[in-house]
Chain length 443, copies 2
């Protein structure tokens, strides 16, 4: 394939398993938006005539993967701020969601997608309603999404339809448009049965069958809090045991949160290769607990990082999850090396992609989509700029560089953030639309 | 006193003990830089002729107080990123500090002071070397500092002098310039005996006497890790017991970290009214542990928040400490209301000031210095801007608003940050100086 765009920078982090640091390197991208080469400049092939060269001054990293989000909740940020999960859902969130209409999912997703892209988060795994509107928003901003429209029975949300209707809707959509579509395969569809406490077991079993038949991801909340899953634990031992018993674990499964897992639950995750979306900020803020990250990693369970919705975190900044995941793991073990800066960075990139079952994003390697983020080092966060030795540079990036150091972002080779601003949508207008929704819900 | 400057905003958070939210309110400031009035606009006195009115569109809060920092370490950020405390000190930090010269304390403090002011942190309690250079840097940026020059015996740092010489130096300085000086009392001096593991007990006892004789703050690391204080615990039961035994606890004492405290240690803190600088990010990153924040607060121990040095956190953003303090407290108790957003905000403002023994900063109240921060709400962090109800607004501020939402800062009524940039020093030049130091240390 012919190179159509070359990104060149003093430092490139391909996010290979060793978290290598390449100095003076390039990322070559073809016209379709796939990476064809990533390596030191001196080894790079000659740039073909007509190809564009973009020379950058900082660090190139793969776009971060947010493995669990409910982004259209942007207008609800800060509601029920100090409530635990079930009161937060029943008193603050569900009554507000009941006032949201189809088009709100477009506007919330649009602004949230911009917020994520500006932070270098190029992919999110989304569970919310009115998926077509969400897909359109992501197509408009130029982001990437794994879209698992939410399926649940919750008070006030009956107007969305029964779980059967919701599941059938997703099935029809997949059967019409395919599992992946859009330029650069930027939309992937999957199933989003909400949880074992908002759906009967037969619903989850049926949805799981639909997903497996189509090779689609099943994205479900598992063992987020002790209280919500009490009934399942009493009857079945645990939610993973319930899911195993009803035959819901054969396919691609992403278990969000997974805070309260016993050793035998982890064995179930291993047996069925279930992946975890670890959401440390949300789980701490709602006082749900902390997932056993190091035990999961030690057991070769696939783990990515998730922000959860912007109303329970309260942001969409995966860099924050990287830091908190590392801090909590270190406290857990009393060992400052329990989760190093480079290992934590991989969680948000390569591992996040793997958790979603994707080997075409999350790293800067030939054949993967060119989802690339440029981090500016002209900041006190980088006392020696890109000249620092590898360990210090990775520390500066992970511990000190905020999302605000991201200046440019490409998704499938398309330049979607330039000089910190979205290139395709009007950020002020997107924010004004979300404000209008927030005022309407409050009125 | 005549009002010379009035700040007017849709929301003012005076940080009174109830964390009130004032709507459409003003902060009136006299020519000396003290607050003379804070309240709703409708109750405000008529503005005298010649007084300046500044109308803002967001939220006014008191400047945040960073109760524990070593800010001149800016050039060392990211060194020894994944090491535990003692290896981090002996392998990465002390050898690098040994290469720092007097003037480096000016340059590091200058850039760090700018970083803090831009984040809305107006006061920091500092322990480092070459205090005169640090004081000059803070006078130059327009910030405020409680400066306790470091006193210790550490390998490679012998050139700084013996502990006696270091302590005498501080004493001479206080006896010459007084405890507080500079416009708006922007410099306060105190004593900084480093710790019980870097000083003999007789040194701490002697320094404590010097501090008490002068009404000065004694700022000391206490029980940061289990390993470093093992000798003291073996011989005396604990570091607080050692300090009590040698008579070092009679005066104003700020105990940084205080991670490993028993119930009887907390009783010692209560008995002598010892304050704690809680540093959750540093303590987690170095895997030292987590201080018993809720037990300390429940026991009426004064607690503020600290970032620790920029090389062990790795930033100087007190908002991050607010969030992590709340997250860890909630996880500790399994209760999402264990530390609410407003309570956490008070830790960084009013309580931080009280922890340092200051009732003239940390709140927007008549008689206090006008250290005021404006937080812009034109961001997805505030879905309803300043129109959100109090609970949501406080949640948006604490959980979602980053330091980057700070646009303007006043210290003792002087405008030191305008439109996100320092008004008195050249930020690019300050950053270049720190880079030069970092390169020299690495060479």
């Amino acid at each position: 394939m012919l190179v159509s765009l070359r990104l060149k920078a003093p430092v490139v982090l391909p996010c290979d398993p060793a978290c290598s640091v390449l100095r003076d390197a390039v990322v070559d991208i073809d016209a379709d938006g796939r990476i064809v080469h990533c390596g030191p400049s001196e080894d790079a092939p000659e740039l073909p005539a007509g190809a564009q060269l973009r020379e950058l001054t900082g660090i190139l990293v793969p776009g971060l993967v947010n493995t669990h989000a409910h982004t259209p909740m942007m207008p609800l940020r800060g509601l029920g701020g100090d409530l635990p999960l079930m009161r937060w859902l029943t008193e603050a969130i569900w009554p507000s969601e009941a006032k949201m209409i189809d088009r709100d999912s477009y506007d919330g997703m649009l602004l949230g997608s911009v917020e994520m892209l500006r932070a270098g988060v190029t992919t999110s795994v989304e569970m919310f309603f009115h998926g077509e509107h969400m897909a359109q928003a992501v197509l408009d901003t130029g982001g990437r999404v794994v879209l698992t429209p939410g399926i649940l029975s919750a008070p006030g949300l009956e107007r969305l339809g029964t779980w059967q209707q919701l599941a059938e809707h997703t099935t029809r959509w997949i059967d019409t448009d395919g599992l992946r579509f859009g330029p650069g395969d930027r939309i992937e569809l999957g199933y989003g049965p909400h949880s074992a406490y908002t759906l009967p077991p037969e619903a989850i079993a049926e949805i799981s069958r639909m997903a497996r038949d189509r090779g689609a991801l099943m994205h479900i909340h598992v063992a987020e809090t002790l209280a919500e899953d009490a009934k399942q634990r009493e009857e079945h031992g645990s939610v993973p045991r319930l899911l195993e018993k009803i035959g819901a674990l054969g396919g691609r499964v992403l278990a969000a949160h997974s805070v309260h897992l016993s050793d035998s639950d982890i064995e179930i995750f291993q047996r069925y290769d279930i992946a975890v979306a670890h959401c440390p900020n949300s789980n701490a803020k709602l006082a749900s607990g902390t997932a056993r990250l190091l035990d999961l990693l030690g057991g070769n369970v696939r783990v990515g990082l998730g922000t959860d919705g912007p109303a329970s975190n309260d942001d969409l900044d995966v860099w924050d999850e990287v830091r908190l995941a590392a801090l909590l793991a270190r406290l857990d073990r009393g060992d400052a090396a329990a989760l190093t800066a480079p290992r934590a960075l991989l969680l948000a990139t390569r591992d996040g992609a793997a958790a979603v079952g994707r080997d075409d994003i999350g790293a800067l390697e030939p054949g993967r989509w060119a989802d690339v983020v440029h981090v500016d080092v002209d900041s006190p966060a980088f006392p020696r700029g890109t000249d620092a030795p590898d360990v210090q540079l990775l520390s500066n990036l992970v511990w000190s560089a905020a999302a605000s150091q991201v200046t440019d972002v490409w998704v499938a080779g398309q330049h979607v953030i330039g000089d910190r601003e979205p290139t395709r949508v009007d950020r002020a207008k997107a924010q004004a639309e979300v404000r209008r929704i927030a005022e309407r819900i409050a009125s």
